[in-house]
Amino acid sequence: MAERKKTTILVIGGKKLNKEGEKIMTSPEECEALRKAFSGTHGVEEKSMLEILVKCNPADLTTFRKKSPYIFLDDECCFEKWDPFHMKSLEIEFLRFQRAVIQQTMHPWERDALLVRKSLEEKPPLYNLLIELACTRTSDEFLGARKAFQCLYSESVEEFVAVRVEGFQRRLLVALVSTYRYEGMRIDEAAIELECQKLGRAIKTDKKNEIENDDEVLRILTTRSKHYLKTIHKCYKKNYDSNLDEDLDDIQMLRDTVNCLCAPPIYFSKILVAAMSVCPTEQEKEALTRVIVTRTDVDMKDIAEEFNRKFGAPLIERIEATALGNYRDFLVALVKRGMAN
């Protein structure tokens, strides 16, 4: 088990003075640790703040501000001003752990209902989030979310989605959120072969907008059971020597649909890689919390394996390198529990 690096705290013996001759309590290393604690992209390092910040007297704080040009602006004013952008970011990062805790404790139906709402109220809309919710939950889990949605918003998911999208997106998304898929294992081999050929013909020969308008492609993806679709995926690979989801790369929504239905770990590992990349958007960062919290007790082991394959390093290691503080510890503990399941 990898050990989390503890922040070293140097005990300052005796009195130290800065160049103004004022007493200082913190070392340069501690200053650096404090800067890091304030500058995370995924959470804040509460421990550093508790242990180092409390020791800072006014002289220390002045030094800290002067030596942190990305946090404090040294402009025409005769004092070091908090960078408002950084202050706003810090607010969000402080809340990251709180939001993870709330998501974790929330009833899954309420959580998914709120996410459905958010997916189309954000600008730009998060279609992949809606597809994720409709396709990675079981029929009964998503039905629960639909009921919760009605309780919370006094309208059905179907009407909410239908009125906010049109054309191909409406045909796909409304069908995905409405369907109550058969969850059993019984399949019709003959029908699968036929439908696999239909998909192959459409995907290999038609242009993008023709595939989007193909009623049969839509019918197969939005009504067939998950086991059925997984079998089609295998059949497609056998017949065409390529993967169905990769062949749909041009149409991101269809690709996500296929992955979410046939191989959720592939989809989720992609989301995790993006969340912990160099410059993720706030939406991408939030997905880190969402994926860990919602998949711990489902398929975390498979997701971690897929992540390792895709990214080249273990998931836990990546989280430890990217996130800070309580938020980091929370996520790592959940992933560990999920992998032990």
Binding site: Y180, Y182, T223
Partner: protein, 328 residues
């Protein structure tokens, strides 16, 4: 209110034995079958089926299918099923059995129920046939009809009473645009092809029923004619017919079913499947109110109409379900 007359006391074992006796010998004693099964409610019928299985180690339904025939057999075999199971079976038969799926049955299944009731039917359908209702409807239909029917059977409608007046008003206009687009404005006999179907499908298959009723009212106010009249009466245009049927069913399910019954007896020959379906599915629910509607709209009692349009054991069975005690 139900029209079915069933006694409080009964013995499932005795009934099972009496039925078995009715099967014995050369012919079948249909009168006994009608007398017993036509006077038992769903719970009692279930107990009889179990008793028959226990005593004779045979499925009563299989036996009935073997011993009876024609419209009478179909009606009895549907009747004996548990109501939810029956709905699933009727939907399945409507989709699979014919060359073209009977969209009216699919619409009735979806639109005469609450959201929870429809969900129970869908679960039962999956249990019986190992596929979802949605995938079977989808794979046996095409085009706009498919989009509409699949949407209508899939939706888990909001059941609150709230209405958003602005939305109702704007959607009434949207519907007007799509329907009237065929040629010229204004209502009247419509009959032209729909300009589009996306919005009409969206509105009819996602909005709550109270919201839709408000929208239909606004439609009439704005366009001077009801939405069903605007959709025209061209029987060859199946999709428009399906839209009209859905709207009528949403507006007033009892009146809609009364029309189905009237229609079934209106032509040369009777459409027994439709007639049986309505009587069998409503006998334990609200057939009494439907009889009142029928009398009001046609000037004739439903019992008289059935008596004159049907014959034999089939007639006797239907009249029994309608609450007649003395027709034998």
């Amino acid at each position: 209110m139900a029209t079915l007359l069933a006694p409080e006391d009964f013995s499932p074992g005795e009934d099972a034995m009496a039925l078995n006796k009715a099967f014995e010998g050369w012919g079948t004693d249909e009168k006994t079958i009608i007398w017993i099964l036509g006077h038992r409610n769903a719970d009692q019928r279930k107990q009889i089926r179990l008793a028959y299985q226990e005593i004779y180690l045979e499925d009563l339904i299989k036996k009935l299918k073997y011993e009876l025939s024609g419209d009478f057999e179909r009606a009895v075999c549907h009747w004996i099923l548990d109501p939810v199971e029956r709905e699933a079976v009727l939907a399945y038969e409507a989709i699979i059995k014919n060359y073209r799926p009977d969209y009216r049955v699919i619409l009735e299944t979806a639109l005469t129920k609450s959201a929870e009731e429809l969900l129970t039917v869908k679960r039962t359908y999956q249990f019986l046939y190992k596929r979802s209702l949605e995938e079977d409807v989808a794979s046996h239909t095409a085009g706009d009809m498919r989009k509409f029917l699949v949407a209508v059977v899939s939706v888990y409608r909001y059941e609150g009473e709230e209405i958003e007046e602005e939305v109702a008003h704007s959607e009434a206009n949207i519907l007007g645009d799509e329907i009237q687009g065929g040629g010229g404005s204004g209502g009247g006999c419509g009959g032209g092809a729909l300009k589009g179907a996306e919005e009409i499908i969206r509105i009819l298959s996602t909005r709550s029923k109270p919201q839709l009723l408000a929208t239909f009212n606004y439609y009439k106010q704005i366009h001077g004619t009801s939405i069903t009249k605007s959709l025209g009466g061209d029987p060859a245009d199946e999709f428009s017919a399906a839209l009209r049927a859905a709207i009528q069913c949403i507006k007033n399910p009892k009146r809609y079913l009364q029309k189905v019954v009237s229609h079934s007896m209106n032509r040369v020959g009777t459409e027994e499947d439709a007639l049986s379906r309505v009587i069998v599915t409503r006998a334990e629910k609200d057939l009494k109110e439907m009889k009142d509607v029928y009398l009001e709209k046609t000037g004739r009692s439903l019992d008289d109409a059935v008596a004159s349009e049907t014959t034999g054991d089939y007639k006797a069975f239907l009249l029994t379900l309608l609450g007649n005690q003395d027709y034998f």
